[in-house]
């Protein structure tokens, strides 16, 4: 079936309720969305490059090792020859390419874990709050207000200091404890916006006739939640979830900028950007490669994440073909 034929399907066919539920229809629509393909393709390439090179970047014997300090190769500009030196080296003679790829793995993992955590928390609280209303709504939303009122750096520093040592003792692996504490700290501040947005959306949906009809028909609440409210919330939830992944990565980079992110020498895209900023803006002898390569990969990845989110949103939207004016 060619693309031209499928896009000419009558709009009505897309809007039947079954079209939303059938998985093969969804997959076919995903395959037709330019944004999802383009963004997802780039994202997949970046993820494969980052994760696929892990055996090399974690091998301490290799030139690709993320912490391979080579005094003879300090601050080398990008050059041909050995692949590890294509993007130049940093102040300690470590390969920028290797560090960027390994840092990407860490950054992406932080973004993914924090987003999953905050989608779960935010959607649960937002649904209950918006649907139930009354004192439950007041209580939950005031709790959200209170949590919003606390600056998250305070939370991060506190969580980091309070839980990192016990976790290190428990896991016997400092890097892992550092990572878990950071994900929880970032996830714990990211779900608040999600909760408020979901609640706002539910408030607006709740007043509409189809929910009244569901209640009148005597549907159990769990069914109303999952079959009737959630599909209408998929748009905002997807959009916010894909906003959370980049914002979690950016939050981590801000913490790296302050020096309280993932502990060195483990790189993240944020810490590489923070490290590269001063050498790159040096007016006399700018070492642009230390900034440009990590930042480009970071920006490309976050842009593709945004495009995937937008594309998926169009796919999930039951009314997608009607929006022409």
């Amino acid at each position: 079936m060619t693309a031209a034929m499928t896009t000419n399907l009558p709009a009505e066919a897309m809007r039947t309720p079954d079209a939303l539920a059938a998985p093969d229809h969804l997959l076919r629509r995903v395959a037709r969305s330019g944004r999802v393909i383009a963004g997802g393709g780039i994202l997949l390439l970046v993820v494969l490059a980052c994760v696929g090179t892990l055996p090399m970047t974690l091998n301490s014997q290799s030139l690709w090792y993320f912490n391979a300090q080579r005094p003879d190769l300090v601050r080398m500009p990008p050059s041909g020859g050995a692949v590890a030196l294509w993007w130049g080296t940093d102040n300690l003679g470590r390969s920028i390419l290797a560090r960027t790829l390994f840092g990407g793995t860490i950054s992406l993992a932080i973004g993914l874990c924090a987003a999953l955590l905050s989608v779960f928390l935010g959607v649960t609280v937002g649904l209950i709050s918006g649907y139930r209303g009354g004192w439950i709504d007041s209580l939950l939303m005031r709790a959200v207000d209170v949590l919003y009122g606390l600056p998250y750096i305070l939370l991060v520093i506190l969580l980091k200091i309070a839980f990192e040592q016990p976790l290190i003792a428990l896991l016997r692996y400092p890097g892992g404890a550092n990572f878990i504490v950071l994900v929880f700290a970032i996830g714990a501040v990211s779900w608040l916006t999600m909760a408020r947005v979901v609640r706002g959306q539910v408030l607006s949906l709740r007043g509409q006739p189809f929910i009244e009809a569901c209640k009148a028909a005597g549907l159990p609440e769990s069914r109303i939640f999952i079959r009737h409210l959630l599909p209408n919330l998929i748009g905002p939830i997807t959009v916010y979830a894909t906003l959370i992944v980049p914002s979690a990565i950016l939050n981590e980079s801000f913490l790296s900028f302050l020096g309280i992110g993932i502990n060195p020498p483990v790189p993240t895209w944020g810490s590489l950007a923070a490290e590269g900023l001063l050498p790159a803006l040096n007016p006399i002898n700018p070492r642009w490669w230390m900034l440009v390569f990590p930042c480009t990969l970071l920006a490309v990845t976050l842009l593709s994440l945004n495009f995937v989110g937008d594309g998926l949103r169009d796919v999930f939207d039951p009314k997608r073909d009607a929006a022409k004016i």
Binding site: V146, G149, Q201, L203, S204, N306
Partner: protein, 312 residues
Amino acid sequence: MIQLLAWRLAQFPLILAIIYLITFAFVWVAPGSPFGAGERKLNEAAETALKQKFHAESWQQFLGFYPYNVIRHGDFGPSMQYGEWSVNDILKSALPVSITLGLFALTLGAILGVGIGTLAAVHRGGVFDWLSLSLVLLGISLPSFISAALLLSIFAGKLGWFPIGGWGTLGDIVLPGVALSLAPMAYIARLTRVSMIDVLSSDYVRTAVAKGLSRHVVIWKHCVRNAFLPVLSYLGPAAAATLTGSFVVEKVFSIPGLGQHFVNSILNRDRTLILGTVMVYSVFLLVFNLLVDVGYAFVDPRIDVSAKSSSK
């Protein structure tokens, strides 16, 4: 509506008190001390004297002294880090700067964001949609310290169009304002686009078009108002965060705003200043969230904000 407003306003002192106590608890149990943190190591006698001076020997003493002054005189006490300065002095000098800059950035972000989002939705899938969104999203695809530093080094350094940092003249506001507006602009453009696409497919829009209204009127008069709802829920927290300053933008452009104190006070464990900045931020947040909830009712009268009649 007035009843709701009064009820929410009446809750404010309680919420603020809870935030004060939680923050205090965090600050008190957080390892590290405001005295002798960093390079200077104090001897024990000096540290005791300082603790006595700042009423910080025990948590009972701290809570017995400061909250009373806050409630009675609105006085947060002296800053534990800066000594000679009171927290109120710091807030008084820094807050106006941050509010000025924040208002500029927020206005810029909201106008451009809604405009770009609406146009992108109308030209959905077209060249404008792709180009404008990519450009806007680039603003939140780079860490803010990078985009701010790039703006500074290009427009102030290379081109020399604007002063290199500082605060006081009209030209000083432009670059930091733009840097600060990038994030809200991107979020608003994106939220507007998404909800605008929903709105464009609703029946009343078809009716409006069918009865012969011009595209222009339908889009900018009828649709934008209804597409604004998700943007509104974002604007509450965004306004509070933007108006109280940004650490990164203030640091890059050397602006004497409040944002730097949020981070520095925490890194210095400056307990009184932390409490001061957190309370200012909380008041902004509560007020703007209340405004947002009131705004819901104006934008979409169907929404029952008090939600008393529901859940049966």
